[in-house]
Amino acid sequence: MELQKVILNLLQFWGEQGCLVQQPYDLEVGAGTMHPETFLRVLGPEPYRVAYVQPSRRPADARFGENPLRLGKHLQLQVILKPSPVNVQELFLDSLKALGIDPAVHDVRFEEDNWESPTLGAWGVGWQVLLDGMEITQFTYFQQAGGVDLKPISAEITYGLERIAMFLQKKTSIYEVEWGSGVTYGAVRHREEVELSRYAFAQADVELLRRHFEDWEREGFRCLEPDDPLVIPALEAALKMSHLFNMLDARGAISTTERVAIIGRVRKLAVATAKAYLKQREQAGWPLLPGGKA
């Protein structure tokens, strides 16, 4: 199955399960979790269901396009079901059928794998889902986000799209995966991986990255100062800080001791943003609650 067919089928499937089909967030992020459609929507009592693809950047994982399995930027397909339904595992297994995988003739196992994002003040409990030994999905029950205990609990399903496509096509290199219409993943993205790697590891201006980190930190908190705070801009500032931190890290510019402090600074803004969002939604009367104002 072509990569684009994997995307289309999964979005189609989850759309039919009542998910809004959203678009990727238009900023550099490390994971689909950072998209406000996840990070903010899981907060508070309002139910929500959403699915989207999110290009996710992990500069330190970049390998100059030389490693057949590692990318500095990969595609996640993220699903949020809030509250987590009783049949969430069954829904997930059904989604595999949309990929042409019949669980009845495969081995599907849910192995413990918990998730934690210190920069977002978030953690969850869950599994990696193994299909015939291949990790195809990360499955998480969010317990906390932005330092806030969540209630209700959201289920997050994150499909690693390149891996799934590789597995379905039985390719040994990501770059050989067929994206669609006879064009390979390598033809679309290889040069980009090379350049992003070179930039992240050798070229990026450390001083500029540090300066921007400070700038966005100030800017983020400034957005939260008004009585009617600007939540989305504040979150965007936190996301930029997070990406700048990842860039500095790939550049080898962050010592072990400094790391904890820097992560703490991003988390502080993320936590403040989460609180501001909750207040804003509460003041609006939780519009998406049944019987709410939406």
Partner: protein
């Protein structure tokens, strides 16, 4: 006192099954133990002991089976104390209103009130009888709370977020019956009400499985087996082992033993399945440990071997009995190939960078916030290893040790160890070998973390042993010097394990290095801070080591009360004493020595003056002591510990005779001092080996 209803002849049986989403493998063994012990304890408290109680589990369920249960708890008879007799009874013996009130409250007739003596005087008492409670009712009362308070390493909430448990609960079966399970015990847990049906295996038998009417444990196990679930972990282990052996022998191989991994496999599935995958033999060009660790780490694969060499096959676990279209084998094989390609990439990537360059990066890797980087640690470790080598007269190892300690932690910044932390040391050793460093160097790097667990093998090379001890001692000293000293269950840096490693290597390799000196050397870079605490800590680990090696506790106590720190010698001495200590002569000696110690500690050490002594018995003892001193010197020099103990045993007779015939605390001061001096000399002689008075209490 409650009577106990023993299970024999009782026909009551009970089944509990919790069907959850996949429970983490590491939570299950403890959950089974807790469930078994807490249920039997809770039942014992109400006087019920089942004839059989067994717990089972799969990755999706926890189950409890009990049989030989009584229909109800036994009647309880308790004596309840009431008001003072003088209040309950009028002087004429009639019952007062207070007495009547107490009788009424206890549900007994006034005639049944009795008067009993208590420390507070005479009070009125009543026997209160509580009727037995039907067992289903008892179970329904006990279980919900008991299950909800089982302890798990990590718990979670789900859905509306009201409940906390290890994973969401989907079904609850609670069935009771006499002769057969025919009654649902109406409990509910996390919003789920108990029923009589469970679900089968997710893929093999996705439907309901009715459990009503089950007449025996075998019946339950069979019904689940028919639904694709092997609920008995023991049985799963057996199936795994048989299948693994069969799959290996089909290709003329054996399974490389890995008990820890098989134990994990048992907890990961409902149905024990294994598939064999084949590897492109090109991968076997990678070091064996890289291949095996890659597949074990990511896919929990068992490896096959042929004549002790890794064979190009692996066994992957799966949660189904079969592989109808070959997808499971193909999938695992594909993943294995991809993982090995990845490892191959990292391995050859690492080989491009000399270890020396990797080691240079350690300047930026913090070992501890207050104790600097790994580069600084390497300097200290090197200096310490050098001191140790010199003290052992191994000056020729100075250069290899210096080199090894500088490179020892370089692999921490390699790609391979970044991916597979469990390969620390191993990769460094491989890379050093590839780069052509001398064997003393690469072996030291490869063996520095040995022993891995408590039981693991210790280093085989001298440089490995020295580096391993020096590295651990530096870690201990660095952390002790900033007050990071383990207490109780708090030992975040696993310092007990580090110290135990030091003691084991010194004792077993052996290295004749006194632990007190080692502690002092290791603490020196930190101005000696923490050295006393570190010595005590190492001494405690030596005690643990001796007992772990099977030395009886009193023997270990006796030795360590007199000496410690030369682990190999202390241990040999302890082994020799362990064979002798229960013989009558040592029992006699322990008592006599206790007297010696008491007297010397109370009356002082007197003065050694044999010419002042008068009695035959004391002259005999004095000359026996001098001979014993001579003999002991010889035996200790030859490390002939059994003979050394026999020398002390030879003093039992003269010592006993001395105590019978001689009055130590005689009136003449000079004589008294001489007698005390004799005893002090005996004490000093004994304490070269042990404080035998510690054996006394035990014998």
């Amino acid at each position: 006192m409650a009577a106990v209803a023993r299970g024999k002849g009782m026909r009551g049986m009970f089944l509990l099954e919790l069907l959850c989403e996949e429970i983490p493998a590491n939570a299950l063994p403890s959950a089974r133990e807790q469930l078994a012990s807490q249920v039997s304890q809770a039942l014992a408290e109400v006087g019920v002991v089942p004839s059989l109680l067994q717990v089972f589990s799969t990755c999706r369920r926890l189950a409890l089976w009990m049989e030989g249960l009584p229909p109800a708890t036994p009647e309880r008879v308790e004596e309840v104390l009431g008001p003072p007799a003088a209040v309950a009874f009028a002087p004429d013996g009639s019952v007062t209103r207070a007495g009547e009130g107490f009788a009424r409250a206890q549900g007994v007739a006034v005639e049944q009130l009795r008067v009993v003596e208590t420390p507070k005087g005479k009070v009125v008492a009543a026997q209160r009888r509580t009727a037995g409670e039907p067992l289903p009712q008892v179970l329904g009362r006990i279980l919900p709370h008991l299950i909800a308070s089982l302890h798990f390493p990590k718990t979670m909430r789900w859905g509306e977020g009201e409940f906390v448990f290890v994973r969401p609960l989907h079904r609850l079966v609670a069935l009771w019956g006499e002769g057969a399970l025919n009654q649902v015990v109406p409990i509910s847990l996390f919003g789920i009400r108990a029923g009589s049906a469970t679900l089968g295996h997710r893929v093999v038998h996705p439907g309901e499985v009715q459990l009503l009417g089950i007449g025996s444990l075998q019946d339950y196990l069979q019904r689940l087996r028919a639904a694709g679930v092997e609920v008995d972990p023991q049985q799963r282990r057996q199936v795994f082992e048989q299948r693994a052996a069969a799959l290996a022998s089909e290709v003329g191989c054996q399974v490389r033993p890995d008990a820890e991994l098989v134990a994990q496999h048992v907890e990961l599935v409902e149905q024990p399945g294994l598939v064999r995958g084949a590897l492109d033999s090109a991968w076997l060009a990678l070091p064996e440990v890289v291949v095996a660790t890659t597949l074990r780490h990511h896919q929990k694969c068992l490896m096959l071997e042929q004549d002790g060499r890794l064979a190009p096959y692996f066994l992957a676990v799966c949660d189904r009995p079969d592989d109808p279209q070959g997808h499971v084998r193909q999938g695992n094989q594909w993943v294995a190939e991809a993982r090995l390609a990845d490892a191959h990439f990292f391995y050859f990537q690492d080989l491009k960078t000399p270890l020396r360059d990797l080691a240079a990066k350690l300047r930026h890797v913090a070992f501890h916030t207050q104790r600097g980087s790994f580069a600084e640690k390497a300097e200290r470790t090197g200096a310490l290893a050098l001191l140790m080598a010199q003290s052992l007269g191994l000056g020729h190892l100075a250069e290899p040790l210096r080199m090894a300690s500088q490179l020892a932690k370089a692999d921490l910044v390699s790609h391979m160890v970044g991916e597979f932390p469990e390969l620390q040391g191993v990769m460094g050793g491989l890379y050093a070998k590839e780069e052509g460093y001398p064997e003393e160097v690469w072996r030291a790097i490869a063996e520095q973390y040995l022993p891995l667990g408590q039981e693991g093998a210790i280093p085989q090379s001298l440089t490995g042993a020295l580096l391993g001890v020096a590295d651990r001692l530096d870690t201990l000293a660095a952390l002790f010097s900033v007050g990071e000293i383990p207490s109780g269950s708090k030992d975040p840096y696993a310092l007990r394990r580090h110290a135990f490693g030091v003691v084991r290597i010194c004792g077993e390799f052996p290295l004749a290095l006194p632990l007190p000196d080692l502690a002092a050397w290791a603490c020196q870079p930190f101005g000696g801070a923490g050295v006393n605490e570190l010595r005590l800590f190492l001494r405690e680990r030596e005690r643990f080591f001796l007992e772990w090696q099977g030395v009886p506790t009193p023997v270990a106590e006796a030795i360590l009360a007199a000496r410690w720190g030369q682990v190999a010698e202390d241990w040999a001495l302890a082994r020799a004493l362990a064979e002798l200590w229960q013989e009558p002569v040592f029992v006699q000696l322990a008592t006599a020595f206790k007297r010696v110690r008491n007297m010397v500690s109370k009356e002082g050490e007197g003065q050694w003056a044999p010419e002042v002594l008068q009695e035959v018995a004391e002259h005999q003892l004095a000359s026996a002591v001098l001979e014993a001193e001579q003999a002991l010197r010889t035996h200790c020099a030859q490390k002939a510990w059994r003979e050394a103990w026999q020398v002390l045993a030879g003093l039992a007779e003269p010592l006993d005779r001395f105590f019978v015939e001689v009055l130590v605390m005689c009136p003449e001061p000079a004589l008294r001092q001489a007698r005390l001096g004799l005893l002090a000399r005996i004490q000093a002689l004994f304490l070269q080996l042990a404080d035998l008075s510690k054996l006394q209490a035990a014998n």
